[in-house]
Assembly symmetry: D2
Homo-oligomer: 335 residues x 4
């Protein structure tokens, strides 16, 4: 069978490297590396094999190479710059940045602190959280891959919000912790080894730009959703501890809601009462693991949701979306 060729822009970053790792073993596609900036590597370290050739990051190159799809593992401003030419060249685009997630240029400007340069594309973009948007994804030409924090939050919250078992008036607290790869590969003091190791810090409280993505998908109001992003001294993984008051009377009742919602989902796993997910359980996988604790006498519930930020929170979910867009088995390359 002929493999389809798909491009990767941003393959030197952490999400891009993860895309390569996944797509190299994918039965239906073959990855091609697109070079956005000048090539900076001066020589191959490995003597044999694994030499990577790259093609220029242009619409023409995309056309010549016959790329069916292109992954943009790039910052939002680069994604806005590159997406139009890729689409025009006939490739379907899967963007891993926040460029096309927020629906309107105004929202984008408010949370990303810069104007949106491709407002017309924004309206075409399909938000790619397969568990809730699957039917729209197949037809998408421009797919906006969800943010890492919103993926873990929405998978934990949406079934309960829809079921109406959360007392929204009391507010929901989402205390989120992420490994350092979520900050990207560009060197900075904040992600330097000596600054991070042995440390733990909150770097964004209440105003993280992933907040509107949760509100948009879950239907919550900003005042109902308090979100903190914190840095764990590990390379990968997101764990969110979510607090709310519930009308449910047991953990089992909440788990039954999840079970109904996720019965056929290949990448959501539930923990039995008394057990909770941790990051080792999801590392290097495309799973989102969810566990529940409930204090029946006071109606307080705590949900723990865990993903690998580079897989279900980025490259893995992007491949899941590609599988849906190109008609491959949804789990191909991801188990």
């Amino acid at each position: 069978m002929n493999k389809q060729r798909v491009g990767i822009v941003g393959h030197r970053g952490y999400s891009g490297a993860e895309l390569i790792r996944i797509l190299q073993h994918h039965a239906d596609v073959e990855p091609v590396l697109l070079e956005h900036r000048e090539k900076t590597d001066t020589g191959a370290a490995l003597r044999r094999g694994h030499l990577r050739t790259t093609i220029p990051c242009t619409g023409e190159a995309v056309k010549n190479e016959g790329l069916t799809a292109v992954f943009l593992a790039t910052p939002p401003e680069v994604s806005m710059e590159l997406a139009p030419a890729m689409l025009q060249a006939g490739a379907r685009v899967i963007d891993l940045s926040g460029a096309f997630r927020l629906g309107t240029p105004a929202k984008y400007a408010a949370w990303y602190k810069e104007p949106h340069t491709q407002p017309e594309l924004l309206t075409q973009a399909v938000y790619g959280l397969p568990e809730f948007c699957r039917k729209n994804i197949a037809g998408a030409r421009l797919l906006s891959n969800p943010g890492c924090y919103p993926t873990a939050a929405n998978l934990a919250l949406l079934p309960l919000v829809q079921a109406g078992v959360i007392d929204r008036s009391a507010g929901i607290v989402c205390d989120a912790k992420s490994g350092v790869s979520g900050a990207g590969r560009k060197p900075s003091l904040k992600t330097s080894f000596c600054e991070v190791t042995g440390n733990f810090s909150a770097y964004s409280i209440l105003k993280h730009r992933h907040v509107p993505e949760v509100l948009m998908i879950s239907g919550l109001e900003e005042r109902e959703f308090s979100f903190t992003a914190q840095l764990i001294p590990i390379d990968r993984g997101i764990l969110e501890t979510i607090y709310f008051r519930t009308t449910a009377s047991s953990a089992e009742e909440l788990l039954a809601i999840y079970e109904k919602c996720y019965a056929d989902e290949p990448f959501v796993r539930l923990y039995n009462p008394g057990h909770l997910p941790d990051l080792h359980g999801v590392a290097h996988t495309n799973f989102c693991d969810i566990g529940v604790t409930l204090d029946a006498s006071t109606g307080r519930a705590v949900v723990v949701s865990a993903i690998d930020n580079l897989v279900k929170g980025a490259a893995g979910q992007a491949v899941q979306n590609m599988n849906l867009m190109l008609g491959f088995p949804e789990v191909e390359g991801l188990l």
Copy 2:
């Protein structure tokens, strides 16, 4: 000047080792090591110096050595076993365990899942959070050193609860993260390197035995205070992210309350708005660092409180209490 001799039981554990480190440089006391169980070390690693002699852990030895005070850096059941003889031998006792914190045998039994064997001592014990109990500490014969989590929580919450600026009906969430030394030095799978490194997990949700200590000191009700204890892959440090709704209208207003309360406190530091504490800032110190974020439009506040669990959360605060009990400068050995 003659240094007073003070004993340390449990000097092989992490809190005990920290006590040695601090007391070795203390101007007014000289540490003596008490051996609870059979001595297990078979030989000294270091060729010169630093050879430690230990004395038996008995009331008689305490009397013979003329120990003014004894630190019990031991599990609660051992502290209950040892405290009576130490007190009878005339030493003042500073207990770092949870044995004497909870006021009544019933509370102890409910949260520590075992009966209290020294109920009469329980009534004599003085809870040693200097910032709020200083006047009782000087006269204490049996001092109960606060737990690590409650220290960080109460220092963050008490001024605001007392000022009445927290909307208690909406509940307070305290999402706490601790380094691994908080679990003690006894080997276990849960604290094995390969299980902890690269991982992050919640190990106690809503029902941690430090919860009643927060309630007892802060005056909050259990239903108002949701607490989660989580494990960070670092050796030391506790950071608590505390969420609540407030009637205050700015971070400055909350900080002013803290400032008034802690104006003369040597070990509480406040961060300016826009800045937040992290664990590097408090590592190896007796400080509790506090920072505040507030969303004025919705009344949601987030307070971050950080300590070193082995210092302000254990050995350092124990020495601070000893300084108050024995009439030394409160900060001696701790700056």
Copy 3:
């Protein structure tokens, strides 16, 4: 095609878990878990799927289940206890311990400090370093999988020893560093998180029990090979820095020897001069990466050899050996 069933004893350990991970995606086999001791897990954490059933660890069970091969990821004394029954039941045995590596009971007793209980099996065992013993492996009934340190050392040294370019009279120094998983999963103070993190220590100098394996395969004498085992605060990976004097006049000359020797080897990779392997390059892979530095004016050479101790140093190489024994493609499940 019918998958063959192969058993895993010791599946709760780190090497055993890695065997499960690899074999679950293997095209030709299906893993079956054998329970050596009483089952201790009391309940499944995950609500759906991934429930593992285990069979008793007996020859009868091996026969009933029709197991073609059994992996023993167990300590040497357990491997000696279990191997006879497994072989008698008709399964081929791949032992990951040191039980059957050293050729004679006397050598085993000298280095493992206990008598060998299966001396007759020792003579049948085939040492499974595929790059040098491939022709013997296919017919092996009892395969002794190499130790992690010797795998990295022998792959780096053997080609050069055979080519006669090492000045053996000056001695070879092999300074080896390993991640903590090499010590197994049993909790101990030495592998506790707080003892290991932020630390680095040498734990075995000159007398490590992996030394005779290097001597046996490489033909070096003990006095020619100085070996130190050290603990890195990471979970997995071995890097060996190997020093010797050489008659070769350039790094290229040494690399040419490696290239000739490993031209057709799927799991040995060479680095170009000026580049050196690190542990990230081999993590979660079955590769052994080798790089060379040479100071031509003094004839001093340094070779760096890196593997993942759980993959090429244990489970991966064991599967590579199984592939050779059962006639599957050598790389199946390992790329």
Copy 4:
């Protein structure tokens, strides 16, 4: 008693921060911060206390402030730029860089790959390894503080070289490992958290610029001393594993040589046979810990030498030198 004022340039770096930490508790001096470049901090994080004022980094400021000594915790090119004005202003200079270590401009140019801009100062500089250069240090006006690797290497090698018990013809191997702070605080990909954590790599083999410092002090020839610098995923500490052949017949014999040499040294500690130093033992201290293993039958010896690279390998040793230069007790501020 009046404290003398001493300046610190480079106080934002890791060695500079360590200087502040030590000097803040020093009985005889008071630290003053000198600002080399434009001040970049825009506001104080801490609300009360610890506000640092800095003075310009000029000779005039040094004179006005009456600084007795200035520490240069700066890169070599900055040290060469600043030292002349500091000296002219009457301050004694303690340089932590490699600028003034190598004796001749030619050697500097060969190993630091840039011309020396202050050749006349080079001849005045005194190399400050107190254990071997104490008598020259008191009178030094320009003190060159030793490199971190050479400190650990020379303290381990010099007594044995002087005693003539090393077979130099067989060569000495020094396999050195360092925490990441040794690379400084400037962000770079090589010291980014995600690149370092879980990794281990050799970054300089045979040609590290600290090699000539070892040769200069120990009297060894380059061909006799093979040195590799490697990166451990921890923040601080250097451990060197040193291999050689010896005419000594036991570890005790080597230890006796060390004991005689270091009998009165406050900062060198020896380990008994069967015990070896590790990095936890020296972290945050000014000690150099040394342990010995010897295989009597083959004459092979392995010495392990450990220091904290920021203390005995930088700031601590610099203060030790200042103490000697200014006539304070040698250990002041360092125990």
